[in-house]
């Protein structure tokens, strides 16, 4: 019955004091901060008990004083440990997409509204064990970056994160769970391969090899936000201060459609997506304009980082029908 209770989300959410995932800023109310003695804390308790017995047996007035001072310190330590975590505000910030097989860098912003600093707060990702210890200054914030392995393409939810502290006396361990609404787009793991044969290029008579183009420097034009930093004419920027983008002769001409159908049908869905992701990278690298066509989605040819991100995201979130 207890097991059934542990699985029941209503009960679990009530127990942990929140319903995941949580949007916006999460404030760690006292209700959500748990505290138990650490192993050192139990040892400390044993020591105090022995000191008390010794003081009673030998009628040591100062022994009582020592014992009770230690006990008082332990009590204060408990409150201070809980205080180090309670009322901390946690929010997840934007996560950069990664390729499958890389580590997603989730960033938790820990905001301390109080006038005291909160040292040694551990943020630990429950599922993966990724962890980092941060100090949060008084009335300021600190960022805890959790590198979480992204194994599969798709939308990777951060999941449950434990925040823990043992400051200041190591005797107690206070912790709290948060589950911020943070996702990382995980692109398919790219398979590096040549672009499909030229004959498959759609929409144009041009049949130049895609990789010849980027060498043919054609001139400069003003920078657009979507231009790849690789194509910025940095020397010119350094000289004139103007942001200019290098244009290549085939820019307007070479255009390639990266089509689901061009991938080997013998491959399974994930392998096809990986292959397409590899093509997207190759096309972007090659400086050609490329479009993406997968079942349910078609992205018009373009180039640049925005196009690359859009294509890869489409691949990442592709769902087979």
């Amino acid at each position: 019955m207890l097991r059934a209770l542990r699985k029941d989300p209503r009960w679990v959410n009530w127990f942990y004091g929140f319903t995941p995932p949580e949007r916006g800023t999460i404030q760690l109310r006292h209700r959500r901060v748990y505290i138990v003695p650490s192993r050192v804390g139990w040892m400390f308790g044993g020591t105090v008990a022995i000191l008390l017995l010794g003081s009673i047996n030998y009628a040591l007035a100062l022994g009582f004083a020592l014992t009770f001072l230690l006990a008082g310190l332990g009590l204060a330590g408990m409150v201070h440990t809980a205080r180090n975590l309670a009322l901390l505000a946690v929010k997840a910030t934007r996560v950069e997409p990664v390729f499958a097989g890389e580590a997603a860098q989730f960033r938790l912003l820990l905001e301390n509204p109080s006038q005291f600093d909160r040292p040694s707060i551990l943020a630990r990702h429950v599922a993966s064990g990724a962890q980092v210890v941060v100090d949060v200054g008084a009335e300021s914030a600190a960022e805890a970056v959790l590198a979480i392995p992204a194994a599969r393409r798709g939308r990777l939810a951060l999941g449950r994160v434990m925040l823990e502290t043992r400051f200041p006396l190591d005797l107690f361990r206070a912790w709290s769970y948060v589950e911020p609404d943070a996702h990382c787009i995980v692109y398919p793991r790219p398979v590096i391969s040549a672009l499909p044969a030229a004959g498959t290029h759609a929409g144009g008579g041009k049949s130049r090899a895609y990789n010849a183009g980027s060498d043919d420097f054609a001139g400069l034009r003003t920078y657009h936000a979507s231009d790849s930093p690789r194509h910025i004419a940095w020397k010119t920027v350094a000289r004139t201060g103007n942001l200019l983008t290098k244009q290549f002769s085939e820019d307007a001409a070479a255009e390639v459609w990266l089509d689901w159908e061009h991938a080997n049908p013998a491959l399974d869905v994930e392998q096809r997506l990986s292959l397409l992701a590899g093509w997207v990278l190759a096309a972007e690298q090659g400086g050609v304009r490329y479009g993406l066509r997968i079942p349910g989605t078609e992205i018009e040819p373009d180039r640049g980082d925005a196009q690359r991100a859009e294509c890869l995201q489409a691949l990442a979130l592709y769902e087979a029908r």
Partner: protein, 655 residues
């Protein structure tokens, strides 16, 4: 699968700062032990501390376990040769000191450091087995402060020492009230719960139940405290300050001893005299007898009267004991006495002191009655110009004869021993009474301090129809002893305890002040026992509180304190920024309309999106966001603008 827990003490390595804190704490708590321990062990422990420092500074590997084991075994053997025991108290404490060094040598992580901290606590408390003075309390407080700062440093290694010290101070400030409550209200029990270890009874300076020539003189050279007495009326004059201790009736020619109790214990019946009421705070002397002014009239609850009229506690005085007493000065003694006691008080070993016996016979023949013999004897001591000295020459076989007729110098035990011998030889029952004479009234708090240097021995002679009479041959020979104390009675002797020398008057004044403090300390801190606890509770109107009342009061008080502490920790610390508060309110209002701000969204982007979501409120949204951006990120902040922002947000109604 999971990485080591970075907050677990076993995963955190000791830093130089941690180690410095530990060594400092160990030095503080280990110092009193090191001063008592064998010199080689103190040096070894110190060397271990130093070695650990070198290992850390030079980044050397920690010594191998077998090496430490060898050191431990050799040192344990050394302790055994020193004390012939390992598992007794003193060798155990000494070994604890050594193990603190050994533990430090193998300390690598904070887990080991925690063990060292616990060792420090045990070193602290074992020190109290020797002494519980104010100095020891100060040492404890200093050590606790150092330990707390060090432990805070364990959990916040990257924080400055100053910040950690501040955290530690706050912890201590919050811990002390709880400690005080526990100290005052934790139900105390009297006496040991289990037997004390064999060596709990250490050699303590104090009166013995035997007396040989020179034994009291040795004792009188000690400044150690015997007891303090607080009188409810004025302190009696010096000649009434005879503190009765063990009575010695058996004599073997050299040594006086108490002898077995011949009759059952009984309470005295006193008549006449002036009643004195006082309380005595007796230092632990590990002997059963209590001291009371002559003649004690009532017995404390924990003691009985011996047949010889001194007080015997039910168990030896192992801790400082406070008892209320009543005595009657110049009381008339009981005229009757048990025959067995009188017979014993007449016994003399044969073959000793022929000259003294001859003198006693002469007195007997020349005297009409017993009282005259006594007065002849007192007269003899008054006129014979016997020297009173703390350094009496050693005596041989006939100790009384040699003292009276050849060396002619002695301390009170020589005088009393000689008188009792003479009286018994003359056929009068007599006995030696040991105790203290005098005491030093402290002008600061009016408490009479009696030291070992006030140790004294006098005589009691039994006269038919009059009972036991006190005869002090020392007072007869050296009248100043009675009124001016030892210091002015012993001529220029270097053996006089330092603080009894009359030249050091300023030192005495300082000492008076200090002792007044120490007395309060003894009464209220060290002497805080179940009785005092009841007294304390009665101040709050709870009379006759037993341990259940105390426990309940303690629980209640601790709950109130913990709640107060918790309320303090719930306090939010910072006052929310009004601009930010207004902005958050604005966001909440929009959120209710279905326009939620993404965590990463800046105010400008959010405002643009919100205007699309709620076009009718577009102008209000723009004004609020612009004002917010100016106030939040701008250089100065006009109070009027803040008020304006708050007003706009208050009146904002997204459609």
């Amino acid at each position: 699968m999971s990485a080591p827990h970075p907050l677990a003490p076993e995963a955190r390595l000791l830093s130089g700062r941690d180690l410095a804190g530990l060594v400092l704490a160990l030095a503080i708590v280990g110092m009193p032990h090191a001063l008592r321990a064998p010199w080689w062990l103190a040096l070894l422990t110190l060397a271990l501390y130093g070695w650990r420092g070198v290992v850390l500074a030079r980044r050397l590997p920690l010594p191998a376990g077998w090496l430490l084991l060898c050191i431990a075994l050799v040192a344990t053997f050394g302790v055994w040769t020193e004390y012939r025991a390992v598992f007794a108290r003193i060798p155990g404490i000494v070994l604890l000191l050594l193990f603190s060094g050994l533990k430090l040598m193998e300390a690598r992580t904070h887990r080991d450091a925690a063990a060292v901290v616990f060792l420090c606590c045990f070193l602290l408390i074992t020190n109290f087995l020797y002494s519980q003075g104010i100095l020891e309390a100060v040492v404890m407080c200093v050590a606790l402060v150092v330990l707390t700062v060090t432990i805070v440093g364990f959990t916040a290694p990257q924080r400055s020492l100053r910040s950690n010290a501040r955290s530690a101070a706050m912890l201590l400030a919050h811990g002390v009230p709880a400690a005080l409550l526990l100290f005052l209200l934790f139900p105390r029990v009297q006496g040991p719960m289990w037997g004390l270890p064999q060596d709990a009874q250490q050699a303590v300076t104090g009166l013995n139940d035997t007396m040989t020539p020179g034994s009291v003189a040795d004792l009188a050279q000690s400044d150690a405290l015997a007891f303090r007495a607080e009188f409810s009326g004025p302190i009696p004059p010096p000649r009434q300050r005879y503190w009765r201790g063990p009575v010695l009736s058996e004599f073997d020619g050299r040594t006086w001893s108490a002898g077995p109790p011949l009759i059952a214990q009984r309470d005295p019946h006193l008549r006449g005299g002036t009643t004195l009421r006082y309380s005595v705070l007796l230092e632990a002397h590990h002997r059963p007898w209590l001291f009371a002014l002559e003649s004690p009239a009532k017995r404390p609850p924990q003691a009985n009267f011996s047949p010889e009229g001194h007080l015997l506690a039910i168990s030896p005085v192992r801790t400082r004991l406070r008892y209320d007493m009543m005595s009657v000065a110049d009381a008339e003694p009981e005229p009757a006495e048990d025959a067995r006691l009188l017979r014993r008080a007449l016994r003399l070993p044969a073959g000793y002191n022929p000259k003294a016996r001859a003198l006693a016979d002469e007195w007997r023949r020349a005297s009409a009655n017993d009282a005259e013999i006594v007065s002849r004897a007192v007269d003899f001591f008054r006129r014979s110009k016997l020297a009173y000295t703390l350094e009496p020459p050693p005596l041989g076989h006939d100790s009384v004869d040699e003292f009276l007729f050849s060396t002619r110098a002695g301390f009170c035990e020589h005088f009393s021993s000689a008188l009792v011998f003479l009286m018994r030889a003359a056929g009068l029952p007599a006995r030696v009474v040991t105790g203290y004479l005098g005491g030093d009234p402290n002008p600061i708090d009016g408490i009479l301090t009696v030291r070992q240097s006030d140790a004294h021995a006098w005589a009691e002679v039994f006269l038919p129809d009059r009972g036991w009479l006190r005869v002090d041959p020392t007072a007869a020979a050296v009248p100043t002893r009675l009124d001016s104390g030892l210091a002015r009675s012993v001529p220029g002797s270097s053996a006089l305890p330092l603080l009894m020398r009359p030249q050091l008057e300023w030192l005495r004044v300082m000492r008076y002040n200090w002792e007044a403090v120490v007395h309060q300390w003894n009464v209220w801190v060290l002497g805080y026992n179940p009785e005092r606890q009841r007294e304390f509770m009665s101040w709050f109107g709870m009379h006759g509180a037993d341990w259940r009342d105390l426990a309940a009061t303690l629980l209640g008080a601790m709950c109130v304190f913990a709640a107060a502490l918790l309320a303090w920790s719930l306090r939010h610390g910072a006052r929310p920024d009004p601009v930010q508060a207004a902005w958050l309110r604005f966001c909440r209002k929009l959120d209710a309309r279905g326009v939620a701000r993404a965590p990463y969204e800046g105010p400008r982007d959010f405002a643009q999106r919100a205007m699309l979501g709620a076009p009718t409120s577009g102008s209000a949204i723009r004004r609020i966001s612009d004002l917010y951006i100016t106030l939040r990120y701008g250089r100065d902040r006009a109070p009027a603008d803040v008020a304006e922002l708050r007003r706009l947000v208050r009146e904002f109604r997204p459609a």
